[in-house]
Subunit: 318 residues, 2 copies
C-alpha cells in the first residue's frame, strides 16, 4: 500500500467546513466575514513530548488537542486543521488507532482535517490549527490590566504527576494513577471556556510549559507583575507528597488548562461560567504594577515572597 | 540562550500583513473579503528530503519555497507562513544561516512568518503556508478538460540530475553541475506564473514527485487520460546520457516547476505570458478521453505508447 493510499484510507473524512479538502496542492476554505483568523502550529516529537510506546489512540487525540488548546487560549472557535507527520514505517496497526484518536478529537470540537503531508522519518507530528474570532475580540497575552484577578481552570498539575508515575519517579495512590495519566495522555482543550472568556477576560494563555512560566509570558507581554497567592491555590491531591504536588501545580505543564486574567467586576460572571461549564475556575492571585514587571511572585500567608526555582520547561535549556 | 531567545533572535521580523505575529498562543490575520484561503503544509526530513550536511541557507530557502510552490499551483498569492522545527541542538552557527535563507525566500515572495514552534529532536522542518485567491478562481487538479493542452514551465529534470551528481551516481559536464545543484537546493516557486494562470489554465499542479506522477494526479482527479508526446518535450541537456536526462525529466521531481492544462485557445496568451515572465513554457501533450482514464501515456513519433517504468517518488513504497 503506497503513501497516498495510506493517507486516503485512514485520514480521509468529510470536510463540510471546507471548499476543498485534502488531495490537491492546497486546501481551500472561506473565512467568515468580520472574523479574524487565529493560526497556530505545534510539533510533537517522540521522546521530547511523549514517551516511546504511548498508546497511538491517545497520541492521536493529544496531537490535535494541544493545538486546539492554543485556539482556546485566544477565544477562537476551531474550524480547520492540517496534519503533517513523519513516521518510521507505514505501520497500519499504529496508524489506524492514531487516526481514530485524532478524528475523535476533531469531531468532539467540530474541526475539519483539510490537508497534510506524510513522510518517512523519526516519529514527528506537526499540526496547524485555524480558528475564528470576531474582529477585535481575541484574548492576547498582552491584555492583562492592573488589579486584574488571575484565574486558572481545572486541575493543574495532574498531567505532570501522571508523567512522574509513568517514569517510575513517583508512586501515586491507586485512585490518582489512572486519572493523572489520562490527563497527561488525553488532555481536554478548554474551547468552551475560551469562547466564554471573550467577553469576560482581558488576557489568556494555555498552561503547556508550567503555570509560573506561562503566567510569566502574560506578565511580560502586559508589562505587569503577576502575584500568585499560595493560600488561594487549589487543594493539592491527597496522598501525594506536598512538595511534589505543589511543584507539579506550579511548574508541571502539559495540562492544557487555561490561565487568564479578568477584572474583579467579573467574579460573579466567572462563577456562573464555572457552573455552566461544570469546570472549576480558581482565582489564584492578581496583577500588580510593582517592579520588576514581568516577574511572577509567589506570596505566602504573610504576603512574603516565596522563592521558587523551577520556571517551566524549555526544550533547549537542559 | 533559551528556546524563546533563540527564536526571537533569528526568526523575529516585522509582520506587516498580520494583526498579531509570533509570541502569543496564536497569530491573528484578517483574510481579505471575497477571497478564498489556500492552505498547505509540507514536512522536510533530513535524509528523506534533503541530504545531511545541506547548506543551511539553501535549506532555509527550500523549506519555504516548496510550500510556496503549492500555493503557486493553486494560483494563490502567498501571504502568511508558519514554521515548526525540530532540531538536534540549538546550534546558532546552523540556525542563523537557515533563518537567513528562510527570510530571503519570505521577502522575495512577500510573505510574513507569523508563528511557529521550535523543539529538540531529529532534524525536521514543517511549514504551513497560506495564500489568497479570488473566490472561485483557484486552479484545482480536477479542472482539466478534454483536449486541453498539457504545459510545463522551466527546465524540469535539472534538480534530479543535481541530486545524482551530489550522490556520485552521475558525472555532469562542469557547466551543468552548479546549475543543477542550485535547482535542487534553492528551487524557485513559480508564484508569478500561478497568478497569471488563474485566467488562462484549467488545472495545475507543481512537479515535486516527478512529471508523470504529478500529471497522473491531474488525470485521475479530472477523469481523463494525459498524453505526453515525446517529440514535444523540451530539449534534454547536452552532454548528459539521454536515458538519464529523460528519466530526470519524466520522473525526477524536486524541481517545483508547474504542470498545467489549458484550452488550445490560450496558446497565444501563454506564449505572451512566457515572454512576460521570462520563463519558458513547453506544450508537451494533451488530455484525452480514452480508457483507462487516470493514466499518463508517453507517445512516440508514430503515436505508439512507450513503456515507462518509474512513476515518481513514494515515501513508503521503497
Amino acid at each position: 500500500m503506497g503513501e497516498f493510499d495510506l493517507i486516503a484510507r485512514h485520514f480521509a473524512r468529510p470536510t463540510p467546513q471546507a471548499l476543498l479538502g485534502p488531495g490537491d496542492d492546497c486546501a481551500l476554505v472561506q473565512p467568515s466575514p468580520g472574523y479574524e483568523l487565529a493560526v497556530t502550529t505545534d510539533m510533537l516529537v517522540e521522546g521530547t513530548h511523549f514517551l516511546a510506546g504511548t498508546d497511538p489512540r491517545d497520541l492521536g487525540w493529544k496531537t490535535l488537542a494541544v493545538n486546539l488548546s492554543d485556539l482556546a487560549a485566544m477565544g477562537a472557535k476551531p474550524r480547520w486543521v492540517l496534519l503533517a507527520g513523519s513516521l518510521p514505517a507505514a505501520d497500519e496497526a499504529w496508524l489506524a488507532p492514531f487516526a481514530e484518536g485524532f478524528h475523535a478529537c476533531a469531531q468532539a470540537f467540530g474541526v475539519d482535517l483539510i490537508g497534510g503531508d506524510t513522510t518517512r522519518g523519526p516519529l514527528n507530528l506537526c499540526v496547524t490549527a485555524m480558528g475564528e474570532v470576531p474582529a477585535g475580540q481575541a484574548l492576547r497575552r498582552s491584555g492583562a490590566c492592573l488589579h486584574d484577578d488571575i484565574w486558572i481552570s481545572g486541575h493543574v498539575g495532574l498531567a505532570n504527576l501522571g508523567l512522574h508515575q509513568l517514569l517510575g519517579q513517583l508512586e501515586l495512590p491507586q485512585r490518582w494513577q489512572r486519572l493523572c495519566i489520562k490527563r497527561l495522555q488525553a488532555p481536554q482543550p478548554r474551547i468552551a471556556l475560551g469562547l466564554a472568556l471573550r467577553s469576560l477576560a482581558h488576557a489568556a494563555i494555555d498552561i503547556s510549559d508550567g503555570l509560573l512560566a506561562d503566567l510569566g509570558h502574560v506578565a511580560r507581554a502586559s508589562g505587569l507583575q503577576a502575584r500568585v497567592v499560595l493560600n488561594q491555590l487549589p487543594h493539592l491531591p491527597e496522598g501525594v507528597a506536598r512538595a511534589e504536588a505543589l511543584d507539579a501545580l506550579l511548574a508541571g505543564g502539559d495540562d492544557y488548562e487555561l490561565c487568564f486574567t479578568a477584572p474583579t467586576s467579573q467574579r460573579l460572571a466567572l462563577g456562573c461560567t464555572a457552573a455552566d461549564l461544570d469546570l472549576p475556575l480558581w482565582r489564584i492571585g492578581y496583577m500588580d504594577a510593582a517592579s520588576p514587571v514581568g516577574d511572577v511572585l509567589l506570596l505566602g500567608p504573610d504576603e512574603e515572597v516565596i522563592e521558587w526555582s523551577r520556571q517551566g520547561y524549555d526544550h533547549f535549556s537542559a
